[in-house]
């Protein structure tokens, strides 16, 4: 069986015959109903009498039917929080830039707070991320001030503590964090601090800011320790 050479032709409906080449070249128009009635009739006749083109037509139609039934993928669970986070920073930058177009206080949007904790966290959770997200969502809905909440799945050692960062001095639109959540990363080897701020001038809704803090670790023996202070909240994008 070889390639169609375009020499097969069939007359139909009193019009000129359709060649295989013509059938292939205009097949999309045929498929999408863009041919005139007469042309479509000629194509249909060719499809019936030419086994190869008939099979081509069936293959395209069946294949496209399969394509249209392929399952859609869904965004991951953290898609919207990540987008909220980015939009928030966009708003924040706009507020800082101001109408003059300058960046007067960009560098001052810094310093969330010193966070100290030691020795920390043993995790027995196997899938902490879902718990974290749920905790973040819960915390986001609460109004500050709210007590720090640790997900039930995670067990803090007796000496563990997490300091809630102090208010941001250079970010007037930010209120103090409403919650800080300690979460194990990579099976509890590391720590991630997530802090949730409320933005008093921002309407309650899906774009309340959500600030993710990166882990800061001190080297040394024993359990990992959070070390030092956070830097700019806008640097975590």
């Amino acid at each position: 069986m070889g390639y169609m050479d375009g020499t097969q032709s069939f007359a139909g409906h009193g019009g000129r015959p359709v060649r295989c080449r013509e059938f292939l070249d205009a097949h999309s128009d045929f498929l999408d109903g863009l041919l005139s009635e007469g042309e479509a009739a000629r194509f249909e006749l060719h499809r019936e009498v030419c086994a190869s083109c008939g099979r081509y037509d069936r293959t395209v139609r069946d294949g496209l039917q399969l394509v249209r039934t392929l399952p859609e993928i869904e965004p991951s669970d953290d898609f919207l929080p990540r987008l909220q986070h980015r939009i928030y920073h966009l708003e924040d930058q706009r507020a800082l830039v101001g109408p003059s177009g300058r960046l007067p206080a960009l560098l001052a949007v810094v310093v969330v707070a010193a966070v100290a904790a030691s020795p920390l966290l043993r995790s027995s959770a196997s899938a902490p991320e879902q718990g974290t997200t749920a905790a973040l969502e819960r915390a986001e809905q609460t109004q500050p001030p709210a007590p720090r909440q640790a997900p039930r799945d995670w067990q803090l050692s007796s000496g563990a503590r997490a300091a809630v960062p102090t208010p941001l001095p250079a970010a007037p639109r930010l209120a103090p964090p409403s919650a800080a959540v300690l979460a194990p990363v990579d099976g509890g080897e590391y720590l991630r601090l997530r802090t949730i701020h409320s933005l008093d001038s921002y309407p309650a809704g899906p774009y309340s800011p959500l600030v993710y803090g990166p882990p800061r670790f001190a080297d040394g023996p024993g359990a990992p320790r959070l070390a030092g202070a956070w830097t700019s909240v806008s640097a975590y994008d």
Binding site: M4, R55, Y56, V60, V67, R68, L70, L80, L90
Partner: protein, 210 residues
């Protein structure tokens, strides 16, 4: 001195109407009118569609999510410049499509890959349309077991400029005119690319459909 404000072609929505009941242009107008929640309505309407569009175009799920995020960031930044006489969906798809094309271009910075890409593109546009009638190939029958996976692969194997048109038409249900607007190529080229994409696809998928 204040400049004259452009006339909005879409009427501002009634505050009594929930965002979910508005069409896209109404939601856009609401956002531009200061209703911040309108943006999340646009996100909820389009994030899955754009994700699937980009994913099918570039074939990388995680990267596709990043690019959808970037799409919405750009929408957020530039919505005030959006021509409201146009369809919002076309504009959003155009941004997403450009990001996907940039992603593919960045991947092909390797000169060898670039050469192969150029050659494949030339081949796919200039060779005559073919149809090999391989009805009887029993060695391929086992592939039926993995039909959907193979359909996935067949889409991924299409040349880039055919694939984007194919995905927009067959998986996103866009009209030829919308595809032309989104991709920035004329209607004739859209038709030609779609026909070639379908032809390529048929050849790739035929063995498993027999």
């Amino acid at each position: 001195m204040s400049k004259a404000q452009p006339i909005r072609k879409t009427a501002a929505p009634s505050p009594a109407r929930p965002l979910g009941e508005l069409d896209d242009s109404g939601v856009v107008a609401a956002f531009l009118g200061g209703e911040k929640r309108a943006f999340s309505e646009l996100v909820s309407r389009y994030h899955t569609r754009l994700l699937n569009f980009i994913y099918r175009t570039i074939g990388d799920r995680e990267r596709a999510e990043d690019l959808v995020q970037e799409t919405f960031i750009r929408v957020y930044r530039h919505l005030h410049r959006f021509d409201q006489s146009k369809k919002f969906s076309t504009w959003a798809y155009t941004i997403a499509g450009n990001l996907a094309k940039n992603e593919l271009r960045n991947r092909s910075r390797n000169p060898l890959v670039l050469f192969q890409t150029i050659r494949n593109s030339w081949d796919s546009d200039h060779r005559p349309l073919e149809w090999e009638d391989n009805t009887y190939r029993p060695d391929d029958l086992y592939r039926k077991r993995h039909l959907k996976e193979l359909v996935d692969q067949a889409v991924a194997q299409l040349p880039e400029h055919h694939r984007i048109v194919f995905v927009l038409r067959e998986m996103q249900g866009k009209t030829y005119e919308e595809i032309s607007d989104i991709t920035g190529v004329n209607l004739g080229t859209v038709k030609s690319r779609l026909n070639r994409a379908r032809n390529n696809f048929a050849q790739l998928i035929a063995p498993v459909l027999d």
